[in-house]
């Protein structure tokens, strides 16, 4: 028990009880375990409870003038549902005992009072109450934390792109659905010089708040590096060196960054351990972007990131995604997998990136059913328009 002394309200219309109680409980009182407050009936008891809000529990007789113990139980429940009550009843009065228990009494003892039993009952009640209060406190903390997580979620969503280039020559769209309140995935669309555009997708190891913080700093570093360098490999190297400094938590982020040139349809990219984006051609054949053998970012410094270049033909779409898409799991513990993702991409009703994004999320939902989402789901598509 963490609080001393506990304050106990004893309600009984027999005046003899007060001295008897104080005498029989004197050791516990002297030891600073309990303090007693007395009332002669239910009405007085409620007055005491209103005056003294630090009363922890009530021990009450049933038959009393003005207000009986059973009515008092109802009133206490309304006044403070966290106060625990023990009822004192005549031996064998099962009917009243049942009524008292149904009205929320925690326990009962019988008359004549056996003080050893009363002591045990009081201790048990107080112990229960201490646990109950702890549970209430942690629930309140949880609510606060939940509230903070909601703010973090909003902040995190706010940094993801919401406006996408919508040009005659190409369109881009993407979205993320975090698994917990805050996620470790992100994607970005970064306008660069000469009409070029930077495209990034990333997945931080682990989920929750630490991953979200790591995601925020990765994303900010990438944005800076992207604007300062015309080669994706240089940008990744810069982000990696920055993130490797002081990375005690050994978090890492898989990150694929590419620069798209709308004039030529060329995409030059470097990949730090991220899964390969998928190209869907006008004839519905699919290709995966070749890997560039890069190591995830944050693992070790001084790494070079190799680049590759592909050309998107008019009518091609290129979809970036995180493993939350391909590893989405249904109730039979089957994963969505690349083949099903190919089918979803091919089955989309148009090549507009917004429609493809919708089709992916819809396809995952249909596949997963009621199974809980265990990972962030992120995808982004670029479409090179047919002339």
């Amino acid at each position: 028990m963490n609080k001393n002394p506990y304050k106990i309200l004893v309600v009984d219309d027999e005046p003899d009880l007060q001295p008897l109680m104080l005498q029989r409980m004197r050791r516990s009182i002297r030891a600073g375990k309990y303090v007693f407050v007395f009332a002669g009936n239910g009405v007085e008891a409620l007055e005491r409870l209103r005056e003294q809000q630090d009363i922890d529990m009530v021990v009450s007789d049933i038959n009393m003038p003005q207000m009986d113990g059973l009515t008092l139980l109802d009133q206490i429940a309304q006044l403070d549902p966290n106060i625990r009550s023990v009822i004192v009843s005549a031996y064998g009065d099962m009917k009243n005992i049942r009524t008292a228990m149904n009205r929320g009494a925690f326990d009962f003892i019988t008359k004549p009072i056996d003080f050893d039993d009363l002591r045990i009952t009081i201790d048990r009640t107080l112990k229960h109450m201490a646990r109950w209060r702890e549970a209430l406190t942690s629930r309140d903390q949880l609510v606060t934390l939940q509230h903070e997580l909601d703010i973090a979620r909003k902040m995190q969503r706010a940094i993801l792109p919401t406006e996408f280039p919508n040009k005659p020559g190409y369109r881009i769209f993407g979205d993320m659905e975090p698994a917990r309140n805050v996620g470790g995935d992100f994607f970005d669309v970064i306008p660069l010089e000469h009409g070029r555009v930077g495209l990034a997708i990333a997945d931080v190891s682990d989920k929750g708040v630490p991953a979200a913080l790591f995601m925020m700093s990765s994303r900010t570093l990438l944005k800076g590096a992207a604007i300062g360098s015309s080669e994706p490999g240089d940008a990744l190297r810069e982000v990696n060196d920055m993130l490797c400094e002081k990375n005690e938590s050994m978090m890492f982020v898989t990150l694929l960054y590419g620069i798209y040139d709308p004039a030529s349809g060329k995409l030059t990219y470097a990949n730090a351990g991220h899964n390969s984006p998928i190209v869907v051609h006008p004839d519905k054949s699919c290709d995966m972007l070749p890997l560039t053998d890069g190591i995830a970012i944050g693992v070790m410094p001084d790494l070079e990131y190799r680049q590759k270049t592909i050309t998107l033909s008019p009518g091609d779409t290129l979809t970036f995604y995180t493993d939350g898409v391909t590893e989405a799991m249904n109730q039979n513990e089957e994963v969505l997998g690349e083949e099903r993702l190919f089918e979803i991409l091919k089955g989309a009703s148009s090549k507009e990136p917004e429609e493809i994004t919708r089709a992916i999320f819809e396809g995952i939902k249909t596949f997963v059913g009621d199974a809980p989402q265990s990972d962030d789901i992120t995808c982004m598509t670029i479409y090179r328009a047919e002339n």
Partner: protein
């Protein structure tokens, strides 16, 4: 997920079974940490029965590798199934963690 250990020819073999993902990565981390006793010189992570590992699990392996390097303990991983091997390859972890086809090869490599 289940982690068991055995001593074989002077190496500590740590066998991981099942799935390692965000939900059990902390347990995985504890299990690996507990497996290492004082005076250990060679450690083999046997992943033959590891069916899946997420990035949260890779991070645990990374931290474990760092700890072993710090303590001068030689280590390698072995017997990865194809899909797990892919996960190591895509993330580039196969360049950081020495990976062998079998326990026997891993032991030979550790000397």
């Amino acid at each position: 997920m289940q982690v068991t250990t055995e001593n074989k020819n002077g190496s500590l073999v740590i066998v991981t079974e099942g799935r390692v993902d965000g939900s059990n990565a902390p347990e995985f981390q504890e299990a690996l940490k507990d497996a290492i006793k004082e005076g250990e010189q060679k450690v083999i992570l046997d992943f033959e029965r590891l069916s899946y590992i997420s990035s949260a699990g890779l991070r645990v392996i990374l931290m474990f590798a760092k700890q072993l390097r710090r303590e001068n303990i030689a280590f390698s991983a072995c017997s990865l199934i194809a899909s797990v091997k892919d996960i190591f390859a895509i993330s580039g972890f196969d360049k950081i963690i020495p990976i062998h086809e079998s326990q026997k090869e891993a032991m030979a490599a550790l000397g």
